[in-house]
Amino acid sequence: MIDFRLEQREHVSPWLVFFAPIGAVIFSLMIASILIILAGVNPIESYIKLFVGAFGSKNAIAETLARATPLILTGLAAAIAFRAKFWNIGAEGQLYAGALAVTFFGTGLIQLPSFLMIPFLFLVGALAGGLLLLPLVLLRNYYKVDEVVTTLLTNFIIILLVGYLLEGPWKDPMSLGWPQGASVIDEGVLPQIIPRTRLHLGFIISIFTALTIWLILSRTILGFKIKAVGINPSASHHAGIPVIKTIIIVALLSGGMAGMAGVTETAGLKGYLTLDLSPGFGYAGIAVAMLAGLNPIGIIFSGIFLASIYVGADAMSRAMNVPTYLADVIVALTVLSVLISIIMLQFKIVFGGQKRDI
């Protein structure tokens, strides 16, 4: 039997911090290539197709960034909540809540000029996402109801509600029988930022949101409180920090950003609400946040990275005739290897039965 133990590193070199996630990504691509070989095609060629599919043309880049938009927002939603140890698994439901708000207010009920209409839609979308989380965070704070369970289950309730509305009262009569909502009025549609592509203003807004969250977390009193509450709620409480209030603010911010992802998809990408508005952006946001180590700036990059794999995998699938499910495999492997690499940054493997005090 091999005798080995984990020992804590005394020094972590900055090179290692930089290269560990890159190494982890390469490692997961290598593992995934086994599956590609089993599918009977050349993995290197497949990965080239994947890369070209994600970044090979103006249109490909625009498509990747458009896909990254909701991922960045749901990634931020997960990151800020997880930093305060509030386990919001409900970004998917909050995203749809945002989309519902856009459909309710943005399809004719309220009419404003574009420069007011777009901020208004983001506001109501964020409020819807945040308010959906509010009763759940109160249940957690006052009755100790596990938020993992409540936020997860709320996803199903909201998605079924969307299904009911789109099949029934909110069904667009002009949709030829498809279950979809009425179109967002022209003033509310997010403008394209690269002409003749699907890349819309939402991408800029998601970057701006990430920078704002970074500023809040690193430079403000609220950020200080969120950090303290996340690391040690008991000590924070004894030091006079209002723990419950802080977690409620975190929940509103988290739900709000997930709601904003619903806005970018409804008012930006599609123009109307559909049942398949989100192919699991809420859940993928958790992966985005974990990949970035919950760092808001890092989330911009990990969001684009995950989007590129999803978009590129479509191209790879068409060119090489491998299933698009490989994208999910690659994403899952990448998250796992990056998480392991983060642990391995703190520890090293020592052979021969030595152990030190941790």
Partner: protein, 511 residues
């Protein structure tokens, strides 16, 4: 079987060294434990006692040196061998399954997970024999949760004896015992030694060591700095050996009570968890320039009392007055604003945010008042830094940088930081729970001085501590807590320790 061989070597520690990075935890430590001897290992936190024990039990592999037990070498870095060879250890924090009976706890580790029944009968007989032979009475069918602390300790000792241990190691065995229970433990130790057991006592309480041990070895900064036969030992000499120089303990100056600052009238509350009691009709008055000490065995309502007086609990009955005004709002923030400072007993859980930096921990109590930021809610880094700098200088918190994580601070510096950040607010009332627990002598002296300074400035202190010596030294008046009730106040001067000890155990409490 038969009489033990007197004065032959049982355990030999030879040249044990162990480094962790730059830290030398054990530096060429050598000593010998004789058969039938009570050997005391003395030393402050970080002197290397724990590392040495971990090496003995094979949890660490020493960099050099060897351990010989009963004339054969113990393999280095292999856990389990020491226990098999007959070395047993009772840790300060017990490792018992509270929901099982005494007998089940004894058998539990011996059984394979796949066996269907427990060998209750033979185990019961063996337990009875051991219990009789070593004078450790216990009822095998009691649920462990219902045992007192000293009975649990007895069970831990029986557990090691059941595994045929010949060398028993006791780590800080008196930490949670009343003075009477301590005495009874010591006579048990003497009885066990007479019956063939050898004992190593690890402690930092000098009085107890002098009372029960045959020989003393002293560790400091990983080195063995002294070895004395107890009968020839000089108390001050050993104390200086432990700390490596003289410690200037603060002296209590005369201080006459001023006006009443805080008063609890007939306060009752429910227990906050299963390991502590609630309060039952408690009356307390705190006066300016006075320290009220609360004596008691842990778990009799001390935590509830401290939490009640700092706004963390709401009373079920009764009233609290501050400066003769009735308190209506029970939350920590309101009490903080009135001028109450609270040092919780578990400083690593309720005090320090270990993964935040030293400066962040220094300013966290002020953050809530938003003094350190601008109106937009942005932190002002330079004023935070200045505030932290002032705190560390005023209260002698030794840190390499203000940016380093607070978890790298030593226990003494952590406590100076936590106490200091309250004292800098000039509190009118300080509630201090176990303020010096687990600290080394130098840090204890600093913390005690900080507490006495609060009194000197004419403010009130409620001191809750397990350490009766500390309690009597610092307090002006003493009250005993038992089962959620408080006794009358006694003047600390000339107080009879034995009487306090009995009251801590509930005897003569209601007289």
């Amino acid at each position: 079987m038969g009489t033990p061989k007197k004065m032959s070597a049982l355990l030999e520690i030879k040249d044990i060294s162990k480094r962790f990075g730059n830290l030398v935890a054990n530096d060429k430590i050598s000593f010998t434990q004789m058969q039938g001897e009570v050997l005391a290992i003395l030393g402050e936190n970080g002197a290397g006692k724990t590392t040495l024990m971990n090496i003995l039990f094979g949890h660490y592999k020493p960099d050099s040196g060897e351990i010989i037990f009963q004339e054969s070498k113990l393999p280095a870095g292999k856990p389990g061998h020491a226990i098999e060879a007959g070395i047993g250890m009772v840790h300060q924090h017990f490792t018992l399954a509270e929901n099982l009976t005494v007998l089940e706890n004894i058998i539990i580790g011996e059984q394979s997970l796949l066996s269907f029944s427990l060998p209750q009968k033979s185990a019961r007989k063996k337990l009875q024999d051991l219990s009789d032979r070593f004078g450790l009475p216990i009822n095998p069918d009691t649920i462990v949760a219902n045992l007192s602390v000293s009975e649990k300790q007895r069970l831990e000792i029986l557990k090691t004896l059941y595994r045929d241990c010949t060398l028993l190691i006791l780590d800080e065995p008196t930490a949670a015992l009343t003075p009477q229970e301590t005495d009874s433990l010591f006579s048990t130790i003497k009885h066990m030694v007479k019956n063939g057991l050898s004992v190593i006592l690890i402690s930092h309480k000098l009085n107890e060591i002098l009372a029960v041990s045959d020989r003393i070895v002293v560790l400091r900064h990983g080195k063995l700095v002294g070895e004395v036969v107890t009968s020839k030992a000089n108390r001050t000499e050993i104390a200086e050996m432990i700390v490596g120089g003289k410690v200037n303990y603060p002296k209590k100056e005369k201080s006459s009570p001023g006006k009443e600052v805080m008063r609890l009238e007939n306060i009752s509350c429910n227990p906050i968890n299963e390991s502590t009691k609630g309060l039952n009709g408690v009356d307390i008055s705190l006066f300016e320039g006075q320290i009220l000490g609360i004596a008691g065995v842990t778990g009799n309502g001390q935590t509830s009392l401290a939490k009640m007086m700092s706004g963390h609990l709401k009373p079920k009955n009764g009233e609290i007055f501050f400066d003769q005004k009735r308190i209506e709002v029970f939350n920590p923030k309101n009490f903080m604003e009135l001028g109450v400072a609270y040092i919780p007993e578990d400083r690593n859980i309720d005090g320090l945010v270990a993964d935040m930096s030293v400066w962040e921990n220094a300013v966290i109590t002020e953050i809530s008042n938003e003094k350190l930021g601008n109106t937009l809610g942005f932190l002002n880094n330079s004023s935070c830094n200045d505030a932290a700098q002032i705190l560390c200088e005023t209260y002698d918190v030794r840190t390499q940088t203000l940016q380093q994580p607070a978890r790298l601070l030593s226990g003494g510096n952590v406590q100076k930081l936590l106490l200091g950040r309250w004292l800098i607010r000039q509190p009118k009332v300080l509630i201090a729970c176990q303020p010096t627990r687990g600290l080394d002598e130098g840090a204890i002296a600093s913390i005690q001085k900080m507490i006495l300074d609060v009194r000197k400035k004419g403010n009130a202190v409620l001191l809750i501590t397990e350490d009766l010596d500390e309690l009597l030294k610092l307090s002006d008046t003493v009250s005993v807590i038992y089962n959620g009730k408080l006794s009358n106040n006694f003047s600390a001067e000339g107080l009879d320790r034995a009487r306090v000890g009995l009251m801590m155990a509930g005897e003569g409490f209601y007289d």
